[in-house]
Point group: D2
Chain length 243, copies 4
């Protein structure tokens, strides 16, 4: 094995990642109304290594996972990242998790009240910690239904995908609330002459206006996706990083 | 091995299936306008055995698959079924295939013209042959768009899922055409007072009326599915088998 | 609408299903060691109707779902089925749920300890209630690893899919335990001469022998699936229903 | 609409993307033995815009797609990228396509002969064109099967994922061949003492050695993924860009 290894032209190799992928795992997330919400996450964990990787790296990941099992929550991620970085002698440690987050409606009985939002987080610990949150808010069709007496939604317009970095803590519920209120405020006049094109454009503008006011956010990216028969149209706006 | 086997209470065992699953495979299907359409299928092949299964059954499946590769089309299925039944000494032989079928639009340039329809077939050879075809027709929102000048569709209402057994040959294109014309004929008046509920009901009735007239069909089942934010509503009507 | 409806040839229509599909929903399942396990289910609910379906059926489903939200567990299903049958004046009511079930390992730190098992249930209320449970047990490769000192598994052999109807209550853990112990008992001699074919055959026989002894079960079906590069081989044995 | 727009703090917005996603589409790819292979791709097309996006951008995408339908092949992508960049007045144009690529085996009848490889390409036209190809090569378990008389593979070890930028044209078949030959050369001695850890490490090293010799490549990244019961272990090496 040694002989083969020495043949590698090490000058050409500049990135090495080692990790564990697509583990499905129960986790606990913070929830404004219920304090803690149990959900199920798909987790990827990996490190960037400055040097050669060895098989022992793999068993270290399993050890770390087992140490934290049953108690993985958002605070726990920082500890795991630190342990990954230290135990594996890594330059950077990453955790990516994806999970459904559920909100329970207020009480009217004519629409389905348990709403699911697909969330994802990318936690990176290098010199400093970086956390990016992603949340998909489905948009019923017609998307300004909430204004009038309509109850059952009658089709799917698409999705709003929000990605943020926080300056200050913000509840997932509040972030979702901002998106859903802004979508609801979409005026009916916006769907007049060329209905096929205008709403996507104006929906993105309305959201961009609203997000520019959220001082809790250090950075944000807004993608509006309009699904159709066999394809989706999408448009994305991202803020510059703030000083 | 023999000892273990003799312990099984054979009286309690009444069904045995052996086969190959989820093979992805290029196939050719008949196409009204282009004669032959190359597409890619996911294939399951299995047999019902009257007696104990042996490991050799598995290698027979691989042999049969290899014999037919590159020339699998709808006519070929009959030959494969016969070979499966004979070589494996089986009571019944099954092939299930699922594939996307593409139709190319006529020429107006303001909507996307390559439409995809997910199809599936279940071919069964027992005493007689039985073939059931399944096709999903996506329904844009609003679903009577085609009547007016609208071009870009602006959301997805849901799907119409058709399952049929043929008495006479019918092109996939023609079956799709029946569904799409019937959807288009949906009158605007049908979406008036309680738009959230009526269309699904009347869409299913319109399709049932239309399909009752198709003498090419021995049997049919129609499912109308209205997708929404986090769930779908569906309703199915199936014809009785005809004498 | 009435005119159109009267044109349908009602003699040809013999099955009508109406329901709600693919709702993702937090549920609670019974867990031997932890009493209750919170997980997330995908739920389908539908009824067979003896007569014409009306739009109001749809809003009834939403009402029923909302009434039970937050408290859906296995006992709750019976109540929901009864309410579905009564409120919708149905001949039969169905609930299908699929969910991941997690087991936490005992304490050795060299293999990953949170195991996920994909489960599904089909609950049917007609004259009587019928409940069928389905559970997939992944099989690592080599599948008799557990016997020796090996720790990290090194590939995926496939799955064992178990479907059962109960005569007496049985914990999910115990059902999984039966499968995993039987897989582990697979003797190394079983993988000798033609290793590619024998294990699947003998694994199914070992499981069939073991399940024939489980008096808690009214009915069972065992599918052994060996995944490979681009396809899976499978074999199924089902018991006859017992008197 | 104008008033709302003027409220946006334009200084904070620095990225704008507009496009079409997840279109499924028949395409033709070059194939060493058969000249042309018809397959089915999932396509994303989008542009980076320096300025505000308008609804008309969306219909332009549909127009461009329709112009090229039926004749999309690898050469066609350059033309589409140019048209996207020009018609939409964009800084950069992207096409991402993913498709299965099939290779037909040589003739031995005891293993399944149509192999599927999942491929993806990212084509970017900015000042210059950049093309990155990705290909996943499944690895059967045990992964050095090819050396001896074994035929049916008996489990899945994982995948090798290759990403490359070309300096010179290279057939997909040849790239796949390099990977599969290198996997096959893995010596049996490599799986001795701690079989659970060594193979992944040495497999990646063998591939890195081999790829360092491929002068056709400007850049490459090799990921070795070992699937297990409930998770995957992976390790990635990437070359630095060459001068």
């Amino acid at each position: 094995m040694k002989d083969i290894q020495s043949q590698i032209d090490h000058r050409r190799i500049d990135i090495k990642k080692v990790g564990v992928k697509t583990i499905t795992y129960p986790i606990t997330v913070l929830d404004k109304s219920q304090k803690r919400q149990k959900t199920i996450a798909t987790v990827n964990m990996y490190v960037n290594l400055p040097h050669h990787f060895k098989g022992t790296h793999m068993s270290r990941f399993i050890e770390i996972l087992n140490r934290f099992h049953g108690q993985i929550d958002l605070k726990g991620f920082r500890l795991i990242l630190e342990e990954m970085k230290e135990k594996l002698d890594a330059e950077a440690a990453h955790i990516e998790i994806a999970f459904p987050f559920f909100l329970h409606g207020s009480g009217k009985t004519d629409d389905f009240q348990v709403k699911k939002y697909d969330c994802a987080m990318h936690c990176l610990l290098e010199e400093e910690e970086d956390l990016r949150l992603e949340i998909a808010v489905p948009v019923a069709h017609p998307f300004n239904d909430a204004q009038d007496g309509h109850t059952l939604s009658v089709g799917l317009w698409g999705n709003v995908l929000i990605r943020v970095r926080f300056r200050k803590f913000m509840w997932l519920e509040d972030l979702i609330g901002v998106v859903e209120k802004t979508i609801g405020r979409e005026s009916p006049e916006g769907t007049d002459s060329n209905a096929a094109e205008r709403p996507m454009e104006s929906l993105l503008e309305n959201l961009a206006n609203r997000f520019a006011q959220l001082t809790e956010l250090k950075w944000y990216s807004i993608t509006v996706e309009n699904i159709s028969q066999g394809y989706s149209l999408f448009a994305t706006l991202s803020s510059a990083d703030c000083p």
